[in-house]
């Protein structure tokens, strides 16, 4: 079913034999051991797997924070493998929104300023920055908290600010590495509903989690182990009634 719909969707990410090898002394650690992955517009993917399986490494490569040791990575049809550091920085700025487990907000400035921050590094004037930051804060439900500083916000609100910051440059893809890892389950639900909403608005999302109830919100679940993808399933379960209708995604050969 998904294969059919993918035909007329735009391909956003294509990973081919992506390896990431860390050299620690004489040992080399295959954090990613040859990943092949294709991701289409408006997909909502959860990456799961035990600790140390390479989830964060994958996210860093996808987010252009890290380079693959070998293999190729195409984002929006552009091969990023040979890009300069400066070009990668521009890609991060324009195409990628990153949400971290520990929010990573600047403590001394307001929510608004935090959200405006990525726009400082793009070609936007002051007025556009303000307008876009305000509208995206509205979108994540914090229209009444723009002047608050991080220490005046709850954990869930902080993560909403961080999500707003990730969205402010209209990224092709939203990457979230354990976004609910520091939140209690009730607050997590709120954040997950926000992700659902963003997905419905057309946002492409990849999130990392090791909790099942989080992954149930995604439409596609990838399991990793030892740097490899061991299963790639579509998920048709409605997270609200938890009905189990999980079936294996058909193999896609390139």
């Amino acid at each position: 079913m998904q294969t059919v719909s993918n035909k007329n969707r735009k391909l956003i990410i294509r990973l081919q034999d992506v390896e990431r090898i860390y050299k620690v002394g004489v040992e080399s650690i295959h954090a990613l051991g040859g990943i092949n992955l294709e991701l289409y517009e408006n997909e909502y993917v959860a990456v799961m797997g035990p600790s140390g399986s390479g989830k964060s490494t994958l996210m860093n490569v996808l987010g252009c924070l890290d380079r693959a040791t070998s293999g190729s990575y195409e984002l929006d049809g552009e091969n990023t493998t040979k890009m300069t550091d400066a070009s990668l920085a521009r890609v991060r700025n324009e195409r990628i929104g990153f949400v971290f487990q520990s929010f990573e907000l600047l403590g001394q400035v307001s929510a608004l300023k935090n959200v405006e921050m990525p726009l400082i590094y793009s070609k936007n004037g002051w007025w556009t920055r303000r307008k876009r930051a305000l509208s995206v804060l509205e979108r994540v439900g914090l229209g009444d908290r723009v002047k608050h500083k991080p220490n005046q916000l709850s954990g869930g609100e902080k993560q909403r600010v961080a999500i707003a910051r990730a969205l402010v440059c209209n990224p092709s893809i939203l990457l979230a590495d354990e976004p609910t890892g520091n939140l209690d389950s009730k607050t997590s639900d709120g954040i997950l509903q926000l992700f659902d909403q963003l997905h419905q608005e057309g946002q492409t999302i990849i999130l990392v989690t090791h909790e099942d109830y989080v992954s149930h919100h995604a439409k596609r679940i990838i399991h990793m182990k030892d740097g490899h993808i061991c299963s790639d399933l579509s998920n048709n379960r409605d997270p609200r009634n938890n009905a189990v209708t999980q079936d294996r995604k058909p193999e896609e050969k390139v």
Binding site: L65, D85, R90, F100, L106, I120, Y121
Partner: protein, 422 residues
């Protein structure tokens, strides 16, 4: 082409944002920023104060030289630094009146010339009143023209007074008051150590002198040169001359030296036993001293700026390591290396400029304080604009130089590692 236009705009935007970020960072760490910049503050405050003092002193000297005339030349005996006469007494090397005979004919670049004697300090009296310790000088008429000290009442000494060796004198207003003479005292007589002299004029009070000359407490009397030789057989003689113009001032000095060596029988190779100095010369000497003071002060300031710079570097390194996660985050959302570098470099420069600003402020206060101290001739002290510019240039350079290393360190950080930093 597009790049050519966009690059500077991007740079300006980056700079403006970095300044904004830097200011908010400095504001967030107020105490630390103030303590950090103390070195710069002291450096800049002292450099501006020293420059202000020197500028003021120079202005003062120049105005005084203007009243005296730059063409004036002073001639007096001086023991040489080398040769058999280096320990001679003033008596041995004194000028005799005949040393100067026919000087004007032999020195074509000299327009006027006059001898002056120091007769001694005498008690001067008029009726019951008497004043002790009055300096009596003999002067040829030309001296007053060169020295340009106007006579307010009466007339100056004349050639006829000189030729007839008259017992006449010029006095200053202080002496007139001390002796309780009338305001118009012309024609009245006073006693200078039992000799009767008639007053022919009253001089303007002597202007305050930067060279440490005029003693305001002591009164002066001027009598004709020849008359003074009669009072004191071996007086101390000096001379004042004036050159035709400023351009031939050096020629005039050379001619006078040559002439005096001949009349004083100084053999070739022997050093001069006198000094011929123009105000131009004195000014050059002053400038040399001023330059030396500036250089010494510059050295001290350099050291304090160096210390200040190391302080800046230290605090920037602390700032970079404290804000490692922030740097990681900025890189993750798309900040390029140059953006991070610029941010931290500008933070260092802004810190230094802030120090420079406070320093100029303190320098201004110091200058105000200096110029209000009486008797040290610094009332004309002020900070010239170029000194403020120089201070900021220095502060900026220190910022760039010492901020570069921490900024490069920040720019080089790996975003993933930085975000993992505790």
């Amino acid at each position: 082409m597009k790049f050519v236009i966009q690059a500077p705009i991007a740079f300006i935007r980056l700079t403006y944002q970095s300044v904004y970020l830097a200011l908010s960072q400095i504001w967030a760490n107020k105490t630390r920023s103030i303590l950090t910049t103390i070195g710069i503050v002291i450096g800049v405050a002292s450099v501006t104060a020293v420059i202000a003092a020197l500028t003021g002193l120079k202005a003062k000297v120049l105005t005084q030289v203007e009243t005296l005339g730059t063409n004036s030349i002073f001639i007096q005996p001086r023991t040489p630094k080398t040769g058999p006469l280096q320990h001679a007494s003033w008596w041995t090397i004194r000028f005799k009146p005949e040393h100067f005979d026919n000087l004007l004919e032999h020195c074509p670049s000299v327009s006027q010339f006059g001898r002056m004697t120091w007769v001694g300090n005498y008690t001067v009296s008029h009726r019951e009143k008497s004043v002790e310790n009055v300096t009596v000088r003999g002067t040829e008429p030309a001296v007053h023209k060169i020295d340009s000290r106007p006579v307010t009442i009466g007339r100056p000494l004349s050639v006829i007074d000189e030729m007839q060796v008259r017992q006449v004198c010029l006095i200053d207003p202080k002496l007139r008051n001390d002796l309780r003479l009338d305001r118009d005292c012309i024609g009245q007589s006073i006693l200078i150590s039992h000799n009767t002299f008639y007053i022919i004029g009253v001089l303007e009070p002597r202007p305050e002198n930067a060279f440490g000359g005029g003693n305001q407490e002591q009164s002066e009397i001027f009598i004709p040169y020849k008359t003074s030789l009669k009072m004191q057989r071996y007086p101390f003689i000096m001379a004042i001359a004036e050159s035709e113009s400023a351009e031939v001032s050096d020629d005039a000095l050379a001619e006078i030296s040559f002439f005096l060596r001949k009349t004083r029988n100084i053999k070739p190779g022997e050093p001069d036993t006198f000094e011929v100095m123009s105000l131009q010369n004195a000014l050059e000497t002053f400038n040399k001293i001023a330059l030396m003071v500036t250089m010494v002060a510059g050295g001290i300031v350099g050291i304090s700026l160096l210390v200040g710079g190391v302080g800046i570097m230290n605090i920037m390194l602390v700032s970079v390591s404290e804000r490692t996660r922030e740097i990681g985050l900025r890189k993750a959302v798309g900040a390029k290396k140059t953006a991070i570098l610029t941010q931290f470099l500008i933070e260092a420069i802004v810190l230094c400029f802030f120090g420079g600003l406070v320093g100029v402020g303190f320098g201004h206060l110091l200058t105000k304080a200096l110029s209000s101290i009486p008797k040290i001739q610094l009332d004309m002290a002020y900070i010239p604009l170029w000194a403020i510019g120089l201070s900021f240039a220095f502060a900026g350079t220190v910022g760039i130089f010492f901020g570069m290393f921490p900024a490069i360190k920040a720019a080089k950080l790996d975003p993933i590692e930085a975000l993992r930093h505790e």
